[in-house]
Symmetry: C2
Subunit: 417 residues, 2 copies
């Protein structure tokens, strides 16, 4: 049975019934049946292949939807890897991101147990198959990796992984290579087909878009946070005794957050509230803020206005409604003796309770006009003593854990006044 | 010729050669040929259809790539409409976005000449076919709009457009309807198929993702700009004579930008530099900033430090490198007599030249400690006189155009001190 001179099968008839032998007419008839069957079989094959491609493109659509449904860079990278593995039906997938400064490819994500060690590898442009793809900007199908001299054997040695075959495509944003996507070891010992490479390149397009959007989003967020912190620090600098205060408080708060179970949203609110907690000091006059002696009651009352003023400055910004209570209440105390509202215990917003500990610790461990700074251990003991009266227990325990892990000291050393 | 009892065609043989009439055997043979041809025809049809679907999904992928390649809300909406029209092969497409406050559907984009007037229409939930789709959350194929009682005839009347048939699908983010996508009037009088609705719903998914990502991006940008402005205004408030100054200068600058050909990037830099132009005043002491009389030379020198200080506050933020020159140089003069660097003419960055005009106009039209405010017309005359000496000609002309269009007066009235 032939289609376009290509044999697709053989029909065999054995032992004709009755006594007659096979005739020339029998053979002609069988040949005619054969060529009809060949056409039917070929049509069925084409149809199945088309169906497979439809399914693949639907899969690609679905994976693209998943990829683009987040603007978190880490999630995009993770999803890109999973998409590569699922779409191409391979053992593992990996994504190498080009470090723009060093021009090296870094394994950002490598799925599977063995993938973890691979993360330490950095490839120069031109080095290994991925390096070749990044340099040339061309997709590559490697049916047998052992026979390809470009293969970077060190990766397999480090990971005790055997790379057999591989699809490797560049990830491009505005025609610039930003990384390389790999699908490694087709399952069930199937070979990769030429169509697989096209499909994989289409996935890389989607990955590129998702990475770029996440990058733009995080860049905007970064600019926002840096600008807010720069302005908060400029406001802080009017008070000559508080150099680095804002930055340290922000870092202490995030170190504490690691030991508390906060949602991503809560962590973002905490970060911003920590940055902005003292901006209300812009409303305090120079002669009070810069006074070297002890403040009079009246002056102290003016100083105590700063959490309220800070909250008012941000009050009209709708998207900061989760952040503002952290600013307003960072001077409240657990026993209700704080300000501005004398809130107690759990009525004090969590973010404000966290800032309160970080803020007090920093104030005590830096010089102030009216007293010298205290040592870290002494201050930690004092903070511990104030659990229940000034500070929330759970939040303070998170601070103590961060302290025991050496994270607090590290920040003290990093951000000097 | 039948496939699964469905007639797909007829074979007709006329005038048998020779004298014999058609026999029963002839008919049987023809029937057998007929059923084989039917199978071949049906296979070809199925194959063509499968091929069509592959192409459609590839189109969808491509349109999804285009949709997701921007985080600008307006562009996303525009591209969504174009995608609907192209993918479904219709006369027009439109997108109705649900106004969350009023719970009305607003025609965001409607392509084609006749579409322009449609933009004024607002549909309540449940009103018209789009309103029904938004309310039910279900996709809808309307083969003949005239026969559908849900059809909102007013839209056709307003636009002098004849809606014949329509695909209408909800656009959902996290299972909430945020809008409705429509493809109207299939070209070449073809009817819509059931598969068209599935494909269109898949497009709506992509549109939803692109809209949501753009929304998140613009929300982050909005939060950034609002927070920066709130902090800049708080800094401004230390100077009792400058209420609303930052906000007015920002608005004057953007009004001028409309009459200059700035890139989107330049406009963004201008907006941010205008917001931040006076933040360096945080470094000026209260007794100078709040002094009611004329400043001494020494005090004035301290005051003149503010553009330099402002630029320094932002100096370490990599993404603001385009913005910082606007802050540093907004007190330069065309004749080189300005500060801090005595730059001349074209050496002064464009953004700074724009802010200089807006800043001076606002200073002159508001009360200051040492003089009363002047009227709008008088100030405009003065600004015009300073072209070449203090101000850049092109930039000042843009200001004069904005003034003539009444845009400057509108801002003066909107943002009172």
């Amino acid at each position: 049975m032939k289609v376009a001179e290509r044999t697709v099968g053989v029909i065999e008839l054995i032992n004709k019934l009755g006594d007659e032998p096979f005739s020339k007419e029998d053979l002609d008839l069988l040949a005619s049946i054969g060529s009809q069957m060949a056409v039917i079989l070929e049509n069925a094959r084409l149809f199945r292949e088309m169906e497979k491609r439809v399914n693949q493109v639907y899969n690609l659509m679905e994976l693209s939807t998943i990829l683009n449904s987040t603007l978190q860079q880490k999630q995009v990278l993770q999803r890109a890897m999973e998409a590569a593995t699922r779409l191409m039906g391979t053992e593992v997938g990996s994504l190498l991101v080009l470090d723009q400064e060093t021009q090296e490819l870094v394994f950002e994500v490598a799925l599977g147990e063995k993938g973890k060690k691979v993360k330490e590898i950095r490839l120069k442009l031109g080095e290994g198959i991925a390096g070749w793809v990044a340099q040339s900007g061309e997709p590559l199908l490697v049916p047998d990796v052992r026979k390809d001299p470009r293969h970077y054997r060190k990766a397999d040695k480090i990971s005790h992984f055997v790379t057999k075959n591989m699809l490797c495509v560049p990830v491009k944003v505005k025609n610039q290579v930003i990384g390389v996507l790999q699908a490694v070891n087709k399952l069930h010992d199937e070979p990769f087909a030429k169509e697989d490479l096209d499909l994989f390149a289409a996935l890389a397009n989607q990955v590129a878009i998702a990475i770029e959007n996440a990058r733009l989003y995080e860049e905007m967020k970064g600019t926002f946070l840096s600008t807010a912190e720069a302005l908060a620090e400029a406001i802080e600098k009017r008070d000559p005794y508080t150099g680095g205060h804002t930055r340290r408080v922000r870092k202490y708060c995030l170190a504490m957050a690691k030991h508390l179970s906060l949602s991503a949203q809560e962590k973002e609110s905490l970060r911003l509230a920590a940055i902005l907690h003292d901006i209300g000091k812009i409303g305090v006059r120079d002669d009070i803020l810069r006074k070297k002696g002890k403040l009079t009651n009246r002056e102290f009352a003016a100083m105590k206005e700063h959490p309220r003023v800070g909250a008012e400055i941000m009050a009209h910004i709708k998207q900061l409604q989760e952040v503002i209570p952290g600013i307003r209440h960072h001077q409240e105390r657990n026993d209700g003796m704080g300000y501005p509202d004398g809130l107690r215990d759990g009525d004090i917003p969590l973010v404000a309770r966290i800032i309160a500990v970080a803020d007090t610790f920093d104030a005590m461990t830096t010089d102030r006009p009216y007293r010298k700074k205290r040592g870290e251990e002494e201050t930690v003991d004092e903070i511990r003593r104030c659990i229940g009266s000034q500070f929330d227990e759970g939040v303070t325990k998170a601070f103590l854990k961060a302290h025991e892990a050496g994270e607090i000291r590290k920040i003290m050393e990093e951000v000097s006044a």
